[in-house]
């Protein structure tokens, strides 16, 4: 009787409620069973070619065969260990980060932000220490997505901090330059920025220099994201109490000392969720690099689905990529939410 009452109050409390309950149930009945059938029950998991797949279900053989390509692009298969090695270090560092004390945490963080990216870039591109060189044209897949988004976020961070401080400065030239820079990049779509990197950058460099396509893309995305990062950091700077500024001034600290040791550490702590959100947005925007001909994971699917042996596999490919994106973005947004909650409690 009680459960019946519960159902009545939660699902049928008013005519509109009852209508909602019934129509949503019908919607679920219409969509979920066919979807599960397609994804799991009627799907084909074993086999080597398209012919092994049964009609009416998903053909996961397609993903299985193209899996390495989707992850690593056209990176030479005997060199893939380099990518695995670098990402293994990254993941291990993140896992042990939690269990370290404050001082070691600081060093590990510094290692991850400065020497590690340089080391991994050298490792990926090769050409030294007996590693065979790998052209950036062969980079692709999820690997390229991560390289672009991680490097751009690391590079845009210092620029973003400077711009945020510049926007709050009382020196007019610096202030208006920062405002102009930030508002310009925030007002244009990323795709036009990438067009700029693709067709305009080569014209702006001395003739004969051939700047790598990937480098151009990372520069463009860095400039673009720096504007968004600046706004995030500015929010943090504004959230630090007025008293902190006054107190640091009162004990005789100058602009730079008070910013580096008092204001910024507090502000940056406050904006970790904002930084995570910027990173998510950037991560979701990386497929746009197709404009200059780089193929990250979505680009690889588009390449694979036009392969004559695998025509008609668009849906499987897109569902798989959507799943990958969803896992990454959902995990990151949950992470940023949890930090936000923690910050609220400590404040």
């Amino acid at each position: 009787m009680r459960s019946l009452n519960f159902i009545k109050t939660r699902f049928f409390s008013s005519p509109i409620d009852a209508f909602l309950t019934l129509s949503i149930s019908y919607l679920i009945y219409l969509t979920i069973p066919p979807f599960i059938n397609w994804v799991l029950i009627d799907a084909t998991f074993y086999g080597e070619t398209k012919k092994d797949c049964i009609d009416g279900g998903a053909c996961w053989v397609f993903i299985k065969i193209w899996f390495t390509k989707l992850l690593y692009g056209l990176y030479p298969s005997e060199e893939i260990w380099r990518i695995n090695f670098a990402f293994a270090i990254l993941i291990i560092s993140i896992v042990i980060y939690k269990y370290l004390n404050q001082k070691l945490k600081k060093y590990l963080f510094l290692f991850l932000v400065i020497p590690f990216p340089i080391f991994s870039l050298v490792l990926f591109s090769g050409g030294v220490f007996g590693l065979s060189p790998v052209d950036t044209r062969e980079w692709g897949g999820l690997f390229l997505t991560l390289v672009i988004s991680i490097f751009a976020i690391i590079f845009c961070f210092p620029i973003g901090i400077l711009l945020a401080m510049g926007r709050r400065s009382n020196l007019p030239v610096i202030k208006y330059f920062s405002i102009g820079f930030i508002e310009f990049w925030r007002g244009v779509p990323l795709i036009t920025v990438l067009f700029m990197a693709g067709v305009m950058f080569p014209l702006l460099l001395p003739s004969g220099t051939n700047l790598d396509k990937l480098v151009r893309v990372i520069i463009a995305i860095t400039l673009f994201e720096a504007a968004y990062m600046a706004e995030v950091v500015r929010g943090g700077l504004q959230a630090v109490g007025r008293g902190q500024y006054d107190a640091s001034k009162a004990i005789g600290m100058g602009y730079w000392k008070s910013h580096i040791f008092i204001i910024l550490p507090q502000a940056l702590k406050l904006v970790i969720p904002g930084i995570a959100n910027t990173f998510i947005a950037l991560f979701k925007d990386t497929p746009l690099v197709f404009v200059v001909g780089l193929l990250e994971i979505l680009g690889m699917v588009n390449l694979a689905k036009t392969n004559p042996y695998w025509l008609g596999m668009a849906t499987e490919g897109y569902v798989f990529v959507a799943f990958v994106y969803w896992i990454f973005c959902f995990a990151m947004s949950r992470y940023s939410l949890s930090i936000e909650k923690k910050l609220k409690i400590t404040n």
Partner: protein, 398 residues
């Protein structure tokens, strides 16, 4: 670390001892730096362009474009100029942005309110919808609608027919074209009605302030909106006919001729843009409604307002104040995101101008600059409009 600290301290000390240096030096450095960068880049550009024999300037806008555009709201063919092609692209961008903004707002409000429902099934569905779509790359969603869903539509001979006047097939969706007679009278009628309704609403508010009498504003407005135009239609002989699209076979290829055709690129793009943006708007709406203090509703109820009055007079006006600023950002994002159209060949400004026109003329610097400035202008226009609207609903403290 302490070494670094000392250096910074000395630097700060130096700056505060020399206030003029502190004021002028960084600004002068920035100006010099900008001059060097801009000078260096433009020097390279001019020498590169000279070496390649490309002349600069915007005169190409008056030259013949000699390419066709698949979908255009104004007349265009290959004999027209690049300037006209730019206009076609711009209008297509605005078209898809406006459609996207309208639908994203409606869907976003719907799911935002649904997520707050006490019915677990309803709020669960809304949560699922929001968390799924906002965490998937927009480009992927556009591809999905275009390559996976719209490709499932039948060929032209076996078109899906909805309500006997909408025909959907793989080449797009066809609806009847409106054929009006005396359309101008009808438009004047509508303008007059809107004008009249505004005056009436002003009068009703003045009346309420003076005498406290409530007129059913909404009902009367709707009534006026129906009565006056139908009066105009009857007296001035305005009539509307539909020109239905017809299936015609031409050299073995069948297609619908006549009527209005909506190309699948536009449908896929509008779908993806409005669904993706609606998830962000839904979150804004939820935050706006949750942001209103419970005391507000209780206080309103205690002075005897009805439930609809509470919603209309207390909750919505206050919630809008919280909802509008972040939603403005979403409108801006949607407009900028409409540039992804280039990926599925919807002829927006990026595809027509930064794509085709750039390929043909090679004027990379001019064209990329024009395209960026166009988006910048659109962004600024939207934010000016929304700031104006925000000011209107903002709290005016006395």
């Amino acid at each position: 670390m302490s070494f670094l600290q000392n250096k910074i301290e000395k630097f700060d000390q130096y700056l505060s001892d020399h206030p003029k240096v502190k004021f002028f030096l960084p600004q002068a450095l920035l100006v010099v730096f900008l001059f060097i960068i801009i000078g260096y880049l433009s020097f390279n550009a001019s020498s590169n362009l000279a070496a390649r024999g490309i002349d600069t300037g915007f005169s190409f806008l008056n030259k013949k474009a000699s390419f066709d555009i698949q979908f255009s709201m104004i007349e265009f063919d290959s004999s027209m100029t690049y300037g006209r092609a730019y206009l076609v692209g711009l209008l297509n961008t605005i078209l898809v942005s406006v459609i996207g903004i309208i639908f994203a707002t409606i869907i976003g409000f719907f799911f935002g309110i649904l997520r707050l429902s006490t019915n677990p099934l309803a709020s669960g569905l809304a949560t699922c919808y929001i968390e799924t779509l906002r965490n998937i790359s927009l480009l992927l969603q556009i591809f999905f609608w275009y390559f996976a869903v719209l490709r499932l539509l039948p060929s032209a001979e076996n078109s899906l027919v909805l309500f006997n006047f909408v025909y959907a097939n793989i080449k797009g969706i066809y609806i009847p074209r409106f054929v009006w007679t005396n359309l101008s009278f009808f438009i004047y009628g509508i303008i007059f009605t809107i004008f009249f309704i505004i005056i009436f609403n002003k009068y009703a508010s003045i009346l309420r302030e003076k005498t406290g009498k409530h007129l059913p504003k909404f009902l009367i407005s709707i009534g006026l909106l129906i009565i006056i135009p139908s009066f105009v239609v009857l007296t001035f002989g305005v009539s509307l006919e539909f020109s239905h699209p017809k299936l015609e076979v031409n050299m073995g290829i069948s297609n619908y001729i006549g009527g209005v055709s909506i190309i699948p690129e536009l449908i896929a793009l509008a779908f993806a843009l409005s669904l993706y943006t609606s998830t962000f708007i839904a979150e804004n709406v939820r935050a706006g409604i949750l942001g209103i203090d419970k005391g507000q509703k209780e206080a309103a109820a205690s002075i005897g307002l009805t439930k609809t009055q509470i919603l209309k007079l207390i909750v919505i006006p206050q919630a809008l104040r919280i909802i509008i600023p972040p939603t403005t950002n979403q409108y801006l994002n949607l407009t900028k995101n409409s540039s992804l159209a280039a990926a599925i060949a919807y002829p927006d400004i990026v595809l027509v101008f930064a794509g085709t026109a750039l390929m043909q003329t090679g004027r990379a610097i001019e064209i990329v600059t024009i395209t960026m400035l166009t988006y910048l202008t659109l962004s600024i226009l939207i934010s000016i409009f929304m700031n104006w609207y925000n000011k209107k609903v903002a709290l005016t403290e006395k």
